[in-house]
C-alpha cells in the first residue's frame, strides 16, 4: 500500500516537473534563439520479488533542448551570404540611383556640351553662343563633381559602417567568450540549456556581420572562426579586431587583429556578412567607379585643353585651358623608411587606365604593380628627372632616397573627377578658329595647292609666325626661301614651327605658299569641329572607347553590379528563410503542442492524485474493518 502511495507521489512530482518545463516553453515562445525543451522520464528501479519486479514510480532523468548543430550551421552560412550581398546591394543601389538620373547623367551632360559647341560653330562670333558653351561646360563639371562627391560620401559611409561592424563583432566575440567560460566543464547531463541557447544566439548574430564557422570542444566550449579561418574566440578568450587606417590612405579603414602586441592586417581574409559586403562594395564599386569617372574627366579636359591651345580666340591669341582636373594621386606607405618622393604626371590619354598602381622599391629596383589587374607592369626610363619612368600613360620622377620595401600608391585618375572645374570665364576665351591658315601666292604659275595646316605642337614659339615655302625648282623647296633645301613629294607632310601641312600638284619654280596666323578670321569654326570630333573619337583605353561610351558603360557597369547583388541577396534570403524554417521546425516552440503536453501532464497528474485517493480509501477500509 505504501508502494502505491510512493509511486503515485513520484508521478505527481515528475509531472509537476514536466509541467514546469512546458510552462518554461510557453513563457519562451517569443524568445529568439530559444530551443524547445522537453522533460525526459525514466522509470525508477523497482523491488524484485519472487513473483516479479514491482516498479517504483517515475522520475525526470533530464531536461534536454531540441537542437541541431547542422541546421544551425546552414542557417548561419545563408545568413552571412545574405547580409553580405544585402550590404553590397544597398550601397551599390545608392550609387546606381545617382548615376542613373537621365537629366544630370554624364552621357546627357557630355552631349549637351557637344551640342553647345555645335551651336557656337554656327556663328562663332556670337557671344551668347559662347556663354552657352561655358554654361554647358559648367553643367558637365557640376555633374562630374557631383558624382565624385556622392561616391566619396558613399565611401565615408562605408568606412563608418566598417568601424561600427568591427565594434559589434568585438562585443559579440567577448559575449561568446564569457558564455564559453560559464559553460566550460559543466556535464552534459546537467547541460545549461539557457547558456547554450544564448551562445548560439550570439553566434547567429555574429553571422550577420561576417561568415562564421564553429567547432565544439570536449569541455563544451566553442571555438569560433571568421572569414577564411581567422580564429576569433578560443575557449574563454576573444581576439580583438580593430579598424586600422590603410597604409597609403589614412582615411580608409582596413581590418586588423592585435595579437601579442602586433597588429596584423586581415582585411583579405574577411568574407561574407555585412563587413565582407562593405569591403567588397568599396573595392569593386566605389573605387573603380571613381577611377573610371576620373578617366573620363581627364579625357574631356585633355582633348579640349589641347585643342584650345591649338586654336585662336576672337582676339587672335592661342586659347587657354578650359578645364582643370585633379592631379595624379601619389601616396607613400606609412611603413616607408626612406625619404623618396614620387611626382607623377599624365602624358598619354590613350594609355591611361582607370586602375590603381603600387610603385615599390625592391632591393633598389623599382617595380610597378597594377593592383586592379593584379600584374606587374613594365616601365620605361630610369625614374630620373631627365628620363622618368613611363608606364600606363604616366611619367614618374623619383627624388630622394628610398629604402628597400618602401612603396607608393599611384592613382592616375582617382581624384581627377573631384578636381574637374571650368577655368574659362568669358566666351571670348574660347578658341574657335584654327591657329594657322595656308595660302598659295596669287602669282604662282604651277598647279600646286596647299592643304589646311594642323597644329602638332601648340607650344612652339614660332607657331603663329608667317612662314613661306618657296620652290626653287619644281622638285625642291626651301623654308622662307633660305637655309636647307628639301625634296618635294606631292602630298607628303611638311612640318615646321609646330604645324603640319602638305602640298600637292605640280608647283613651278618660283612658286610659294604661306602658312600664317589665322587671326582676323573670327568666323572660322575649324577648331570647334576639331573639339567636337575629338570628343566623339575613341580616345580612351588604347583608342577602343569614346568618352560617351565610357560614361555609358560606367552607368551600366554599376547597374549590373547592383542588379547582381540584389538578385543574389534575394536568392540567399530565400535560402536563409528555408534554413530558418528548418531550425524552427526542430527548435521552435509550438503553442498547440505545449497545450497538448499540458493536458497530457495534467491528466497524468490527476490520475496519480486519484491513485493516492484510492490508496487512502483502501487504507480507511482496512482501518474501519479493524476498528
Amino acid at each position: 500500500m505504501s508502494d502505491v502511495l510512493f509511486t503515485s507521489v513520484s508521478g505527481l512530482l515528475a509531472f509537476q516537473k514536466a509541467l514546469s518545463v512546458t510552462s518554461n516553453n510557453v513563457a519562451n515562445v517569443d524568445t529568439p534563439g530559444y530551443s524547445v525543451e522537453s522533460a525526459n522520464f525514466s522509470p525508477q528501479v523497482g523491488v524484485t520479488t519472487s513473483v516479479g519486479s514491482f516498479g517504483n514510480g517515475v522520475d525526470v532523468s533530464s531536461v534536454t533542448r531540441s537542437y541541431s548543430e547542422l541546421l544551425a550551421g546552414q542557417m548561419r552560412t545563408s545568413q552571412s551570404s545574405y547580409s553580405g550581398f544585402n550590404s553590397f546591394a544597398t550601397t551599390a543601389a545608392s550609387i546606381d540611383s545617382v548615376l542613373s538620373d537621365s537629366s544630370t547623367g554624364m552621357t546627357a551632360t557630355l552631349q549637351g556640351f557637344t551640342n553647345s559647341l555645335q551651336t557656337l560653330a554656327n556663328a562663332p562670333t556670337l557671344p551668347a553662343s559662347g556663354t552657352a558653351v561655358l554654361s554647358a561646360a559648367q553643367t558637365l563639371a557640376q555633374s562630374v563633381q557631383g558624382y565624385a562627391t556622392q561616391l566619396s560620401a558613399a565611401d565615408q559611409n562605408v568606412e563608418g559602417q566598417i568601424s561600427s561592424n568591427v565594434q559589434e563583432i568585438n562585443s559579440l566575440a567577448s559575449g561568446i567568450a564569457t558564455l564559453n567560460s560559464q559553460i566550460s566543464g559543466t556535464t552534459t547531463s546537467g547541460a545549461p540549456n539557457a547558456l547554450l541557447d544564448q551562445r548560439d544566439q550570439l553566434i547567429n548574430q555574429l553571422s550577420q556581420y561576417v561568415s562564421v564557422t564553429t567547432a565544439t570542444q570536449s569541455d563544451g566550449t566553442m571555438q569560433v572562426f571568421i572569414g577564411n579561418g581567422q580564429a576569433l574566440v578560443n575557449s574563454g578568450t576573444a581576439q580583438t579586431l580593430s579598424a586600422i587606417p590603410n597604409q597609403y590612405n589614412p582615411t580608409q579603414f582596413d581590418v586588423g587583429v592585435t595579437s601579442s602586441g602586433a597588429t596584423v592586417d586581415i582585411t583579405g581574409s574577411i568574407t561574407g556578412g555585412s563587413l565582407g559586403g562593405l569591403l567588397a562594395v568599396r573595392s569593386q564599386v566605389i573605387e573603380p567607379t571613381l577611377n573610371a569617372l576620373g578617366q573620363i574627366s581627364v579625357g574631356v579636359a585633355s582633348i579640349i585643353n589641347q585643342q584650345q591651345a591649338s586654336g585662336l580666340t576672337q582676339s587672335g591669341a592661342q586659347g587657354q585651358p578650359m578645364f582643370a582636373v585633379g592631379a595624379v594621386q601619389v601616396s607613400g606607405s606609412s611603413f616607408n623608411t626612406g625619404t623618396a618622393q614620387i611626382s607623377a604626371t599624365r602624358t598619354n590619354l590613350s594609355a591611361l587606365t582607370p586602375d590603381d598602381y603600387v610603385l615599390s622599391n625592391n632591393g633598389g629596383t623599382w617595380q610597378l604593380y597594377d593592383q586592379t589587374a593584379h600584374q606587374t607592369v613594365a616601365m620605361g626610363g630610369d625614374g630620373s628627372a631627365g628620363n622618368p619612368f613611363t608606364a600606363a600613360g604616366l611619367s614618374m620622377v623619383v627624388s630622394g632616397a628610398a629604402n628597400s620595401g618602401d612603396s607608393f600608391l599611384v592613382q592616375p585618375t582617382a581624384t581627377a573627377a573631384a578636381g574637374f572645374n571650368v577655368l574659362l570665364t568669358s566666351p571670348a576665351q574660347i578658341a574657335s578658329a584654327a591657329a594657322v591658315q595656308t595660302s598659295a601666292t596669287t602669282t604662282n604659275t604651277g598647279s600646286g595647292t596647299i592643304a589646311p595646316a594642323t597644329v602638332t605642337d601648340p607650344t612652339d614659339p614660332n607657331l603663329l609666325t608667317a612662314t613661306s615655302l618657296v620652290f626653287s625648282s619644281p622638285t625642291q623647296y626651301q623654308i622662307n626661301g633660305a637655309g636647307p633645301t628639301f625634296a618635294y613629294t606631292p602630298g607628303a607632310a611638311i612640318t615646321a614651327n609646330g604645324w603640319t601641312t602638305s602640298i600637292s600638284g605640280a608647283p613651278a619654280a618660283g612658286d610659294s605658299f604661306t602658312v600664317s596666323s589665322n587671326a582676323g578670321n573670327p568666323g572660322d569654326n575649324t577648331n570647334l569641329f576639331a573639339m567636337i570630333d575629338g570628343l566623339s573619337a575613341n580616345s580612351l583605353n588604347g583608342g577602343t572607347i569614346s568618352l560617351q561610351g565610357a560614361a555609358n558603360s560606367l552607368v551600366s557597369q554599376v547597374g549590373s553590379q547592383t542588379q547582381q547583388a540584389q538578385a543574389n541577396a534575394q536568392a540567399q534570403q530565400s535560402v536563409n528563410t528555408s534554413a530558418t524554417a528548418a531550425v524552427n521546425s526542430t527548435s521552435g516552440v509550438n503553442l498547440d503542442e505545449e497545450a497538448a503536453n499540458m493536458v497530457k501532464f495534467q491528466q497524468a497528474y490527476q490520475a496519480c492524485a486519484q491513485l493516492i485517493q484510492a490508496s487512502t480509501t483502501m487504507f480507511n477500509t482496512l482501518i474501519t474493518a479493524i476498528g
Partner: protein, 395 residues
Amino acid sequence: MRVSTLGFQTSASDQMQSLESAIAKTQSQLSSGLKLQTAADDPAGMAQVNQLDSQISASQQYQANGSALNSNLTIEEQSLTDATNVMQSARDLALQANNSALTPSQRQDIATQLQQLLQQLVGTANSTDANGNYLFAGEATTTVPFAQTGNSVAYNGSTSVSQVQISPNQRVSSGDAGSNVFINIPAGNGTFTTAVGGANTGSATIGPGTVVNASQWVPDTYTITFSDPTDYTVTDSLGNPVTSGTYASPGAISFNGISTTVSGTPAAGDTFTVAPAGTSSAFNTLSSLITTLNDPTLTSAQLATQTGTAMEQIDGAISNFNQVQASVGARINAVTAASSSAATVQTTMTASVSSLRDVDYTAATTQLSTEMVALQAAQESYASIANMSLFNYLK
C-alpha cells in the same frame, strides 16, 4: 513537422512586407511612368537608352544647325537674286549705250545710272545675316568684305568659309566667300579665252571655242600661226609644236581637249592666241564700263568693242551668280533632306527609348491588382490563422 509559433508569425510578417515592397515598386513605376528607374533594373537597357538619348539630342542639334543655316542660305539666295537684277539692269544700260547716235552727255547720264548700280551691288555684297555677320566675308565675318573707293572696290574678307554640321556625317559650307561670288568670275568660256593677233592682215576671226575633254586641257598660252591661208601650226608658250593641219573656212582647230573655230580668210603670218581664262570682278566690269562711257574721245568702233566686252563680262557675272545660287539651292535641299531624315530617325529612336524605359500601364496596373489581391489574401488568412490556438478551447 513542427511549426514554430514565433517562426509562423515572423514568416507571415516577412511575406506581407515583401508583398508591400513589391506594391510600392509597382506604384512608383505607375506614378513616374518609368519602368526603368535605375540602371539596376536593366543595365543593358539603360545603356541603350542613354545612347539613344544622346543620339536624339545630337540629331536635334543637327536640325537646329540646319535651320540656322537655312535662314542664312535663304538670305544669301535673295542677295544673289538682287545682284543678278543689278547686273541685268547694267546689261540693259550697256546695250542702250552701245549706240553711235548717242551724244557723249547722254552716255554720261547712263554712266551715272551705272554708278548707282555699282553702289547697289556693293551694298548687296555687304549683306549681313540675322546675327549681323557679313554673308560674303568668308570666315572674316566681322570685317566689311567690300570697300569702295571711288569706282574701285577691294575685297577684305577671307577666301575660306566655315562649315556647318547638318547630320552625323555631313558638313556643308555655311556660305560662299565673296571672292568666289563677285571677284573671281571666270572670263571667256571659263577655261580659256581666244584673241586675234594684233598685227593680223587677213580678215579671219576666231570664235570663243569650247572644251571637248577637260582632262586633256593643259593650261598654257597657245599660238595658232598660219604659214599660208590654208596651213596652220599650234605652238605652246615655249615654242614647242602641239599640232598642225590644213584649213578651209570655216574650220575647227582642235588640240589638247579643246576646239575653236576660225572663219574668214587669214593672211600668211596671221596669228591667233588661245590662253587660260583669267578672272574678272563684277565691280571692275561695271567701273570700266563707267570709265568707257565717261570718255568722250572714244571712236564708235572702240566704244562698240568695249561695251561688247563689258556685256560679255556682265553675262559671265550673271552666270557665276546663277551657279552660286544653284549650289546654295542644293545646300538648302540637303539641309531639308537631312532635317526630314533626322525627324524620321528621331521618331524611331524615341519609340525605342519609350519601349525600353516607359511603363506599360496595362501590364503595370494588372500587376498592381494581382499584388494587392495577394496582400489582401495574406492579411486575411493571417488574421484568421493567428487567432487559432488550442489554449482557446481549454476551459
